[in-house]
């Protein structure tokens, strides 16, 4: 064997560039934070001076993290120039992985922009916060390009562990710690299921490489073990995307976790896990796909929407809505690959835009200690802060699926893909659910514009960082609703490549 061939080549590193960039910047933030802390303690006598100094350091750390995420976006473009396999066929760079790399990095940037203000208002020491977001993003990026199930597992753990910690970042709030512990316990349980599934899959097909598994399953008899493997892997991944019946953790965790983090973990890791699911379901040709997805999608849509109907806490409401959206998205997985895959990819992108935006508004409006998170607090927002209310309205309309927003075409593509696969029953369930969903999103709009405020809820000015974050999400949401063609076309390339 040639030793030179065993060593990674330059191109291999290029294919991993975004992950490398994110990790390096994460480490820089961490080291800087530690160094600054050591000096700060020695000097500051008065607490107020120390606090001001802390603020400044945090701002710098945030800025470094932002640069890191922007660098990751750039790195994605570099990476796109080197399509192919890397590191002994464990990583594959194709239009599919590039799509999700870009998505994860963009969400990360927007979330960091939102966090500047949030951290200051909540008075949270934010040093390792930014580092954890970057590490998590590295894990998520890796998930979308990993084609080796063991590597998928490692990437999944990287991303999960950082989100467990992030969920508990409001240290003063008991509810946040509860959220973190709950997420951690159930989450590690779920990843164990995934690992078990991988093991069974290995037993059934003799490989952990997704393409090889696909070849084996396509070629001949499908062993029973493979069904069990798919089901167990799906339990693990279904937990991460909050699909029913693995959704129980979602409302509690979302309620307790800091709002920007919720915006992050309801979009970026979900997108990455959905990418993994796409690979497993379509590229690995998972047996029993349609029946499994049918049930889970119908359950998620129904439970999510019915649950959201009775919520008064806006974070819990959006948590249930995210369960419902996971259901809509899964509908695409039951469709045929050539239009199911692009539909699912389009949905993840538009869902990311509108949901990150919605949570950015929620985190701004929550103010210190996240006091204002009930529906009643939002009453009269249309009068007190017309701009904020109008922005949230557009995100909510997109979540309903009203035309001219990305949410409409997302649903449109998913349902029409399902119709072409003759899944009429599932589409009817989906359409009925969207009608139910319209009601509770509408409730928020009604409260904002048509009810008088019961108490004086202050609304702070929109700071620059948040303004950028909102503008990016808004423009993306509307862009996907007016000109969805380019993104869909890009997503379709994957389907053609995989169909071979």
């Amino acid at each position: 064997m040639n030793t030179a061939a065993m060593l990674p080549q330059t191109a291999d590193y290029m294919r991993l560039l975004p992950e490398i960039v994110l990790t390096v910047f994460g480490m820089i933030v961490m080291v800087m934070d530690a160094a600054a802390e050591g000096r700060g303690e020695g000097r500051s006598r008065g607490r107020s001076i120390g606090r001001i100094k802390d603020r400044r350091i945090e701002k710098i750390l945030g800025a470094v993290a932002l640069v890191g995420s922007l660098a990751a976006i750039t790195a994605t473009f570099v990476q796109a120039q080197y399509p192919g396999f890397a590191f002994w066929n464990m990583v594959q760079v194709d239009s599919f992985s590039v799509f999700f790399h870009f998505l994860v990095a963009a969400v990360t940037a927007v979330v960091i922009l939102t966090s500047f203000e949030y951290m200051e208002v909540q008075q949270i020491r934010a040093g390792e916060y930014y580092a954890l977001i970057l590490f998590g993003a590295a894990g998520m990026s890796l998930m979308s390009s990993a084609v080796e199930l063991v590597l998928v597992f490692i990437a999944l753990e990287i991303s999960s562990i950082s989100t467990y910690v992030l969920a508990g970042f409001r240290r003063r709030a008991a509810i946040s710690s509860e959220s973190s512990v709950k997420y951690f316990l159930l989450g590690s349980f779920a990843t164990a299921f995934f690992l078990y599934g991988v093991a069974l899959m290995f037993g059934a097909t003799g490989s952990t490489n997704i393409a090889t598994i696909g070849d084996v399953l396509r070629s001949g008899q499908i062993p029973l073990l493979a069904y069990a493997g798919v089901a167990l892997m799906f339990v693990g991944l279904g937990f991460k995307v909050a699909a029913a019946p693995f959704h129980i953790w979602t409302p509690d965790v979302y309620e307790g976790a800091p709002s920007p983090v919720v915006g992050f973990m309801s979009t970026a890791p979900k997108a990455a896990v959905f990418a993994v699911l796409l690979r497993i379901m379509f590229e690995a040709h998972a047996p029993g796909r349609i029946g499994l997805i049918w049930v889970v999608a119908a359950l998620s849509m129904t439970i999510g929407n019915l649950g959201a109907l009775v919520q008064d806490n806006i974070k819990r409401l959006l948590a249930y809505s995210s369960i419902a959206h996971a259901g809509y998205l899964l509908v695409a997985y039951a469709a045929l690959p050539d239009n199911g895959i692009p539909a699912a990819m389009f949905y993840t992108a538009s869902y990311a835009a509108m949901n990150v935006g919605a949570f950015a508004v929620v985190s701004h409006f929550g103010s210190a200690g996240e006091r204002y998170v009930t529906l009643g607090d939002y009453s009269g927002l249309g009068r007190r802060s017309p701009l904020l209310a109008a922005t949230l309205t557009i995100f909510l309309l997109s979540l309903i699926g009203i035309p001219i927003t990305g949410g409409f075409f997302a649903k449109f593509y998913v349902f029409s893909a399902a119709l072409q696969a003759n899944l009429v029953g599932l589409v009817i369930v989906g359409v009925l659910n969207s009608a139910v969903g319209a009601y509770y999103y509408l409730r928020i709009i009604v409260v904002m514009y048509m009810r008088e405020p019961q108490q004086e809820v202050p609304v702070a000015r929109i700071p620059v960082g948040l303004g950028f974050a909102l503008a990016i999400s808004l423009v993306t949401t509307i862009y996907l609703g007016v000109l969805p063609g380019r993104v869909l076309e890009y997503a379709s390339r994957t389907a053609t490549a995989w169909m071979r």
Binding site: G382, I402, F412, S416, L419
Partner: protein
């Protein structure tokens, strides 16, 4: 003769209001300027829309001023707009009423003024889009787009149970239009196009796979969405609530234009795409229309609330329109289109008049008034004039349309004509009785003696409606000679159908 303007004029008319709304958005929050800007923009849109009747080639059936560009490649959606003699007048009606809505809201809207006019202008764009879209998807898009601004107008600026009314309006129409979306998607799946003309051609060719089985459902899918909008009995329950709680400008546009979206949709899509199913379903639809005419009138008669009375009279009048459309006669369809326009003008004006009274007394209860002719003579005169137009007095705009509809209905089935004709009598009853209770007799409430007569902006809003009501009654041919060819081409599949039945 086609000029460059001919292909862009529709986009221009449709998007001038939207541009105005964006301008308002970035403008500083100053109420006076916002009002003037909204008025200016809406008048410009009206003037631009006058290009259509002036340059429409009357002798030519089919769509004119067309523009057709690809918008999205997958799904295959085109930005395709165009008008014929029917939709053209509805566009002009929309642009005509909007400046009047601005005028009538001049003083009555004091809170969140900027937002109000932004919503109003966005609504105007969506309404024009509905009447000009020739791509099914584009149509659906504008159709849904009217929903949000209207619901916001009711919910933000209405009174009383405004939130209830707004949500009811929104949910009713949105759920109904989902059926239409389903039908549109079915057609797209089978034909691969959203284009109205292409879909129509594909259906008429008879080659569409599975169409025979699906057609009744598709017809119903479209019909339910439109019937809720009209509103046809028994889908009408959202209308009184929405009207009573809406601000005046909202009511004017709701009655004047939004209801016509439903009847226009029936005419264009139900008749245009599914002639056989329209023919087959006509009997029960006409019965529902007759129930609407008579039921609406009877309920209007016993209303103690002025605005609710006008709202129920709308249900009655729109019944005439549906009756005319499903009579499948030239006269019936001509009349239906004419009633749409006449009702838009006169009921719009009636709502403005009711709103003027509300501003002075903050009530719509008829019992609170009486003898108003003495303190408000000019107001009383306007009211009388408009009311007579609405009753259907010859030489005013209400008469021609109802007459044509009834003559068409007679030809379809004599009984329908007879029953429909009673509607004219009923409308005279409830409107004249209402007028008597509000304006004649002694002034029973002290406050009414001090009521101010019309002011400048109110007169400015009412004069145009009065003039148009008169002109439409005296010279209906100006309108009808454009409507006629469009109706004839809409009816062409039916004459073929009839000849098939007769066996000629």
């Amino acid at each position: 003769m086609t000029t460059a303007l001919d292909s862009t004029i529709l986009s221009l008319i449709a998007f001038i209001p939207l541009a105005g709304a964006l301008l308002l958005l970035i403008m500083p929050r100053r109420d006076r300027e916002a009002r003037w800007l909204a008025l200016g923009v809406s008048i410009v849109a009206f003037l631009a829309s006058l290009h259509l009747p002036v340059h429409l080639v009357r002798s030519q059936a089919g769509f004119q001023f067309e523009i057709n560009r690809q918008w999205i490649s997958n799904p295959n959606i085109h930005y395709h707009m165009g008008v014929d003699g029917i939709s053209m007048w509805l566009v002009v009606l929309t642009t005509f009423l909007t400046p009047l809505c601005v005028l009538i809201s001049w003083k009555s809207i004091n809170d969140r003024v900027k937002e109000f006019f932004i919503i109003l202008l966005v609504l105007e764009t969506a309404l024009i889009g509905v009447f000009t879209a020739l791509d099914l998807f584009l149509f659906y898009f504008f159709w849904e787009a009217t929903l949000i601004p209207m619901a916001l107008l009711i919910g933000m600026y209405g009174h009383g149970r405004k939130v209830y009314a707004a949500v009811k309006f929104f949910l009713y129409t949105m759920i109904a239009s989902m059926f239409m979306l389903a039908a549109i998607l079915w057609l797209y799946a089978k034909t691969g196009t959203f284009d109205f003309g292409s879909v129509q051609a594909a259906i008429r060719s008879g080659q569409l796979e599975g169409f025979a089985a699906a057609a009744p459902w598709l017809f119903l899918g479209f019909f339910i969405a439109f019937a809720v909008k009209v509103p046809l009995f028994p889908f009408h329950t959202w209308l009184p609530d929405a009207h009573v709680e809406a601000p005046t400008a909202g009511s004017v546009l709701l009655a004047g234009v939004l209801l016509k979206m439903g009847t226009y949709g029936m005419l264009r899509f139900n008749l245009g795409l599914f002639p056989e199913q329209s023919r087959g379903n006509a009997p029960w639809i006409m019965v529902l229309a007759l129930i609407g005419i008579i039921y609406g009138a009877l309920v209007a008669m016993v209303q103690p609330n002025l605005k609710k009375l006008i709202a129920y009279s709308s249900i009655s009048h729109l019944g005439f329109v549906v009756l005319g459309i499903f009579s499948f006669t030239q006269a019936g369809l001509d009349g239906a289109t004419f009633v749409m326009l006449a009702h838009g003008v006169s009921t719009g004006a009636l709502f403005m008049l009711a709103g003027i009274l509300y501003e002075r007394r903050h009530t719509y209860e008829i019992a609170e008034f009486g003898g108003l002719a003495a303190p408000m003579p000019v107001y009383a005169t306007f009211f009388l004039f408009i009311m007579l137009a609405s009753v259907g007095l010859p030489l005013l705009n209400g008469f021609i349309g109802e007459f044509l509809v009834l003559s068409g209905a007679f030809r379809a089935r004599a009984l329908y004509g007879v029953l429909g004709a009673t509607g004219v009598i009923w409308s005279a009853c409830y409107l004249l009785w209402m007028y008597q209770r509000v304006f004649f007799g002694k002034v029973t409430h002290e406050v009414n003696l001090t009521l101010a007569d019309l002011d400048g902006s109110e007169r400015a809003a009412l004069w145009p409606t009065a003039i148009v009501a008169l002109v439409m009654g005296v010279a209906p041919l100006v309108w009808l000679n454009a409507i006629d060819p469009a109706v004839r081409s809409a009816l062409s599949p039916f004459t073929q159908l009839a000849s098939k039945v007769v066996g000629r």
